[in-house]
C-alpha cells in the first residue's frame, strides 16, 4: 500500500512538473520602429513596412509559405487558410480548398466570403489600395462553396501563385456596406478583429504599438503562444535603435546600419547577442536617365503608341550611348565603394537579380573597374578632355552621338540626404569620375523632395535602391519595361526601353509549363541584355542581418522570415 502511494505520489509530481514545463514562459518581445506612426491600419488600405509587420502577426495568410525557402507551398501550413490547390489542365484556374477550423477573434468563422470580399473590394475601386495590381493579374475569383474558391487567369502566368497570395482573408462581416467609408471606420485605427498569433493591443501615438498573445491561436507550435506580447517601440532613428538594442531595451533588430554592425558583432562575442546574417534582398544602384530630362514624357500614349522621349545629352537613350554608360561603370571601383560605404557589408551585383535569386546566373560577372579603359572608351565615343595634357580636365563633346559639339560632360548626381550609405556612394563616384574628366555635381535632397523629383523624371542620374520581395520573383516588368515609364508614377523612371529585353522577360513569365531551367535560361539572357545596356550601374546587395538579445529564446530566423516561429519565443526575465 505504501509503495503504491509512493508511486502515485511520484507520478503526480512528474505530471505536475511536466505540466509546468509546458506552461507559457512569457516575456515581451520588443522591436524598434524608426519610422513615423503608421498612417492607418486596415490591411486593405495601407501597406507600410510597420503595418505589414503587424498584419503578418495578427492576420492569417491565404497560402502556406515554407519559411526556409520562402516559397509558396501547395499544402497546409500554420496560419494559412488554404490547405492546397489544384490547377486546371489549361493552367489558367487554381481551385483552393480552405480550412474549416479557423475563426476570427470575435468568433466568426473564416471562410470563402472573407477572400471574396478582398477581390470584390479591389475590383470596386472604391478606395485607392496597394492591391490594385492584383486586378491586372487575376481575371476572376469565384466562390465555389463556403470553403472552396477558384482563381482564374486570362493567360498562363508562372508567377500567378504570388498574385493569389495577395488575397489574404479579411473580416468581411465587419466591413461597411459603403466601401468608400472604409478609411473612416474604427477598424482602420483599431484592428479589433484578427486571427493570428497575436491580437491588436494598444496604440500609444509616437510611443509604441502593442500586440497581445492570442490565447485562441489554433496553429501555435507549442499549443499556446509562448510569450506575452509583441511590442513595436518607437525610436527616433536607426542610430538610437542600435543603442537601445545594445542597451537591452529592444529584443530584436533587423538590418542595422552597416557602420554599427561591428559593435553588434562585439556584443555577440561577449555573449550578449545572437546574430543571423544572410544574402540580402535590398540593393543599391546608380541609374542614368535615358530620356530628355528637360522634357519628360511617358513611354506610350493612351493607345499604346510610343512617344518620342528624346535622349539625355550625356547618357543618350537605351540604344544610343551604351559605351558611355559602360565607361562610367568601368570608371568606378564598386568593391571599394562596398568597403567604404557599407564597411564591407555588401555583396557585389552583376545585374538586376540578387545573388540569392533562383534565377541569378553566376556566370555573369560584374563589370570590373578599369579607369584607363573607361577614359579610352569615352574618347572613342567622342567625349575628349578639354586639355589633352590633363586627364582630369572636363571632357567635351567632339563628335559624340548625344549632344552638340562643345557640350561639357557635366551632370547632377542625386540621392536622398538622410542616407549616409548612398551619400558615400555619390561622393566616391564623383571622385572617381573626376579623375577621367567626367564632372558630376552631387546633390542630396530631403526624402520627400527626392521622391517627387524621381517621379518627375527630371533628374540626370541618381542613387537609390530596391528591395525584392519574398518569394523571389525575377520578373522585371515593373523595373525595366515601358509599361512602368509614366511621368509622375514611374518605377522605370529612367525610361529604359529595349524591346528584346521586354519580350524575353515576358516570355519567361508566361512560359508554358513554367520549366525552371528554361525560365532560368531566359532570365540569364535578360541579365546579359540589361548589363550590356547599362541603364543602371549595379552596385551591391546589402547583407541581411538579424540580431536578438541573448535573453530571447527560440530565435531561429530564415532569410525572409525572422519571425516565422515567434509564437514559440520567450524572453528570459
Amino acid at each position: 500500500m505504501k509503495f503504491a502511494l509512493r508511486v502515485t505520489l511520484v507520478l503526480v509530481v512528474l505530471c505536475m512538473s511536466s505540466l509546468s514545463a509546458m506552461a507559457q514562459e512569457g516575456g515581451i518581445v520588443v522591436r524598434g520602429n524608426a519610422g513615423a506612426d503608421p498612417t492607418a491600419f486596415d490591411p486593405l488600405l495601407i501597406n507600410e513596412t510597420v503595418t505589414s509587420d503587424i498584419h503578418a502577426l495578427i492576420f492569417p495568410d491565404l497560402l502556406s509559405v515554407d519559411p526556409a525557402t520562402a516559397s509558396i507551398v501547395n499544402g497546409p501550413g500554420p496560419n494559412a487558410l488554404a490547405t492546397g490547390w489544384e490547377l486546371s489542365e489549361d493552367g489558367l484556374t487554381y481551385t483552393f480548398s480552405l480550412r474549416e477550423d479557423m475563426y476570427w477573434t470575435d468568433g466568426e468563422q473564416i471562410d470563402a466570403d472573407d477572400v471574396m470580399f478582398v477581390w470584390d473590394f479591389i475590383q470596386s475601386g472604391a478606395v485607392p489600395t496597394h492591391l490594385s495590381f492584383v486586378a491586372d493579374e487575376i481575371a476572376n475569383v469565384e466562390k465555389i462553396d463556403n470553403f472552396t474558391i477558384a482563381v482564374s487567369f486570362a493567360e498562363a502566368d508562372c508567377d500567378a501563385i504570388n498574385s493569389i497570395g495577395s488575397l489574404e482573408p479579411y473580416p468581411s462581416h465587419i466591413a461597411p456596406e459603403d466601401l468608400t467609408t472604409m478609411p473612416d471606420q474604427e477598424f482602420n485605427q483599431n484592428l479589433y478583429v484578427s486571427s493570428g498569433p497575436y491580437t491588436f493591443g494598444e496604440v500609444r501615438p509616437a510611443e509604441s504599438i502593442s500586440l497581445l498573445a492570442n490565447p485562441d491561436y489554433v496553429d501555435a507550435e507549442m499549443g499556446f503562444v509562448n510569450n506575452d506580447a509583441f511590442v513595436l517601440l518607437n525610436v527616433p532613428d536607426l542610430t538610437v535603435m542600435v543603442e537601445r538594442f545594445l542597451a537591452g531595451e529592444l529584443s530584436i533588430i533587423s538590418g542595422p546600419q552597416e557602420a554599427r554592425r561591428a559593435e553588434i558583432y562585439a556584443a555577440e562575442e561577449e555573449g550578449r547577442v545572437q546574430i543571423y546574417t544572410y544574402p540580402g534582398n535590398s540593393w543599391d544602384y546608380l541609374a542614368f536617365n535615358l530620356a530628355d530630362p528637360a522634357n519628360p514624357q511617358n513611354a506610350t500614349d493612351e493607345d499604346g503608341n510610343a512617344i518620342d522621349q528624346g535622349m539625355h545629352p550625356v547618357f543618350g537613350s537605351t540604344e544610343v550611348g551604351r559605351d558611355v554608360r559602360r565607361a562610367l561603370n568601368l570608371a568606378l571601383d564598386v568593391d571599394d565603394i562596398i568597403e567604404r560605404a557599407t564597411f564591407g557589408e555588401g555583396t557585389r551585383m552583376a545585374s538586376h537579380l540578387v545573388p540569392a535569386s533562383w534565377a541569378f546566373d553566376p556566370t555573369i560577372e560584374p563589370i570590373p573597374s578599369d579607369p584607363a579603359l573607361a577614359a579610352q572608351m569615352l574618347t572613342d565615343a567622342g567625349w575628349v578632355n578639354s586639355d589633352p595634357d590633363d586627364p582630369s580636365s572636363v571632357r567635351v563633346c567632339q563628335g559624340c552621338a548625344t549632344a552638340e559639339d562643345g557640350t561639357e560632360m557635366r551632370f547632377v548626381l542625386n540621392t536622398n540626404e538622410e542616407n549616409a550609405r548612398r551619400t558615400a556612394i555619390i561622393t566616391i563616384a564623383q571622385e572617381s569620375w573626376d579623375k577621367i574628366g567626367v564632372k558630376a555635381d552631387i546633390q542630396t535632397l530631403e526624402w520627400g523632395s527626392y521622391r517627387e523629383a524621381l517621379l518627375s523624371q527630371t533628374l540626370d542620374a541618381y542613387v537609390i535602391g530596391w528591395r525584392n520581395g519574398y518569394p523571389d520573383r525575377p520578373d522585371a516588368t515593373q523595373l525595366f519595361t515601358p509599361a512602368s515609364d509614366v511621368v509622375g508614377g514611374c518605377s522605370n523612371c529612367m525610361s529604359y526601353d529595349n524591346p528584346e529585353f521586354t519580350a524575353i522577360n515576358e516570355q519567361a513569365r508566361i512560359l508554358p509549363g513554367c520549366s525552371i531551367d528554361e525560365r532560368k535560361a531566359l532570365y540569364a539572357e535578360a541579365q546579359r541584355i540589361i548589363q550590356a545596356d547599362t541603364p543602371y550601374i549595379f552596385m551591391f546587395v546589402r547583407n541581411g542581418f538579424y540580431a536578438a538579445g541573448s535573453e530571447v529564446n527560440g530565435f531561429d530566423p530564415f532569410p525572409s522570415q525572422m519571425l516565422w516561429n515567434v509564437d514559440t519565443w520567450s524572453i528570459a526575465q
Partner: protein, 360 residues
C-alpha cells in the same frame, strides 16, 4: 482693462491671418507633397495617384487650397438637387481626377467655422484629435522643465546679484553662456550615451514610460526616471536665462531709492535683498511667465525627437517631413494663438503686479 483686452484680441486677428498666409505659402513652396509620400510604391498606378491628389485637393491652385483651409469646400463643390452626387462647383472642378465621374461633395468647413481639417496621415483623423492626444506629453515635459528652470535659475540669479563680481557671479555668468550655447540635440545624445543603457545604465534611453501593453503610462511620479534627461536638456537653457534675468533685475532694483531707504533705516542686508529687493525684482520674471507657459504648448521638437518623447514637437517634425499640411497648419495656428495669448497675459500680469502700470 476690458477695453485693453478686447483691443488686443482684435489686433490679433490680422496677425493670425498674416501668420496663416505666410506659413501656408512656405509650406506649399517646399518641394515634395503628400501624394508621393502616401503612394511611393511601384504597384500604385498614376490613376490612383491622381484620384488621391483629387481627394486631398493638393492639385488645386495654391490660393484655392488656402481658401479651402480657411473657408472649407462644402460651398466649392456640392450637391444641389439632393441626389447625393455633386453637380455644382466653384473654383474647383467637378471631376478633379479626370475619371469622368464627379468627386464627392466637399465636407470641409474651414477653420473660420472651427474645422481644422483632417490629417493626410494618422488615419485621416481630425487634426485637433491628433494634436490633443500629444498635448499631455508636451505639457508634462514643458512644465517639468519650467519648474526646474525656475527653481534653479532664480536662486542662482539672486545669489549672483548678491555676490556681484565675486567668484560665484563670474562662474554662473560663464555657465549661463555655456548652457545657452549647448545645442540640445548634442547635449541630449551625449546624456543618452553617458547615462543610458550602453553607458552607466542609470536611466532609460527614451520614451515617456516603460513597456505598457494596455492602459497607457502610469502617473508621472512613478516614472520620473523617464523625465529626468529630457527635462534636464530643456531646463539648462531656462536656468541660464532665468538666472541672468533675475540677476539683472535684482541689480536694477538695488539701485532704486526705496532700497537705499531700506538700508538707511538700518535693515539687515538679508532683509533689504529678500524683503524689499527680491519681491520687486520678480515682477519682470513674472511677466515673462505668460509667453513661456503658453510656449510650452508648441513643444520642444528637437528634445522630443532625441528622447522619443511623444509630444507635439515631434508631431510637427514628422508632419513637416510627410507634408501633412492640415496638421502643420493646425499646430502653427495653435502655437500662434498661444503666443498671442501669452503676451496678453503677460501685459495683464504686469498691470496686476505693478500698481504703477495702467492698461488703457
Amino acid at each position: 482693462m476690458t477695453k485693453f483686452v478686447v483691443r488686443r484680441i482684435l489686433q490679433a486677428i490680422p496677425t493670425l491671418f498674416g501668420i496663416s498666409l505666410l506659413v501656408y505659402a512656405i509650406m506649399l513652396a517646399t518641394p515634395g507633397g503628400p501624394v508621393a509620400a502616401l503612394t511611393f510604391s511601384p504597384t500604385v498606378t498614376p490613376q490612383e495617384r491622381a484620384a488621391l491628389a483629387a481627394q486631398l485637393g493638393v492639385n488645386d491652385p495654391y490660393p484655392v487650397q488656402y481658401l479651402r483651409w480657411l473657408l472649407g469646400d462644402d460651398w466649392m463643390r456640392f450637391d444641389s438637387d439632393g441626389d447625393g452626387i455633386s453637380d455644382t462647383a466653384y473654383l474647383i472642378p467637378l471631376d478633379a481626377d479626370g475619371d469622368g465621374e464627379p468627386e464627392p461633395p466637399g465636407r470641409r468647413r474651414g477653420i473660420l467655422r472651427g474645422d481644422f481639417g483632417s490629417s493626410f496621415f494618422h488615419g485621416k483623423r481630425h487634426v485637433v484629435d491628433v494634436i490633443f492626444e500629444r498635448l499631455g506629453a508636451t505639457f508634462e515635459l514643458g512644465i517639468a522643465s519650467l519648474v526646474v528652470g525656475l527653481t534653479i535659475g532664480i536662486p542662482v540669479g539672486v545669489l549672483a546679484a548678491v555676490n556681484r563680481g565675486g567668484y560665484f557671479d563670474n562662474f554662473t555668468r560663464v555657465m549661463a553662456v555655456v548652457f545657452n550655447a549647448l545645442p540640445s540635440f548634442w547635449l541630449g545624445l551625449l546624456l543618452l550615451l553617458v547615462f543610458g543603457g550602453t553607458g552607466l545604465g542609470l536611466l532609460p534611453m527614451g520614451n515617456r514610460c516603460g513597456i505598457v501593453l494596455v492602459g497607457g503610462c502610469p502617473p508621472f511620479y512613478e516614472r520620473l526616471e523617464y523625465l529626468f534627461l529630457p527635462t534636464f536638456v530643456i531646463a539648462v537653457g531656462g536656468v541660464a536665462a532665468y538666472s541672468r534675468f533675475m540677476r539683472a533685475s535684482l541689480l536694477d532694483v538695488s539701485g532704486q531709492d526705496y532700497i537705499r531707504t531700506a538700508r538707511a533705516k538700518g535693515l539687515s542686508g538679508r532683509m533689504v535683498w529678500f524683503r524689499h529687493g527680491l519681491r520687486n525684482a520678480l515682477i519682470p520674471i513674472a511677466t515673462l511667465l505668460g509667453p513661456t507657459v503658453t510656449g510650452v504648448l508648441s513643444g520642444a521638437a528637437i528634445t522630443e525627437q532625441v528622447f522619443s518623447w511623444p509630444g507635439v514637437g515631434r508631431l510637427v517634425v514628422s508632419s513637416i517631413t510627410q507634408k501633412d499640411y492640415p496638421t502643420v497648419m493646425a499646430v502653427v495656428m495653435f502655437a500662434a494663438i498661444a503666443t498671442i495669448l501669452g503676451y496678453l497675459l503677460s501685459d495683464m500680469l504686469y498691470a496686476l503686479i505693478d500698481p504703477r502700470i495702467r492698461l488703457r
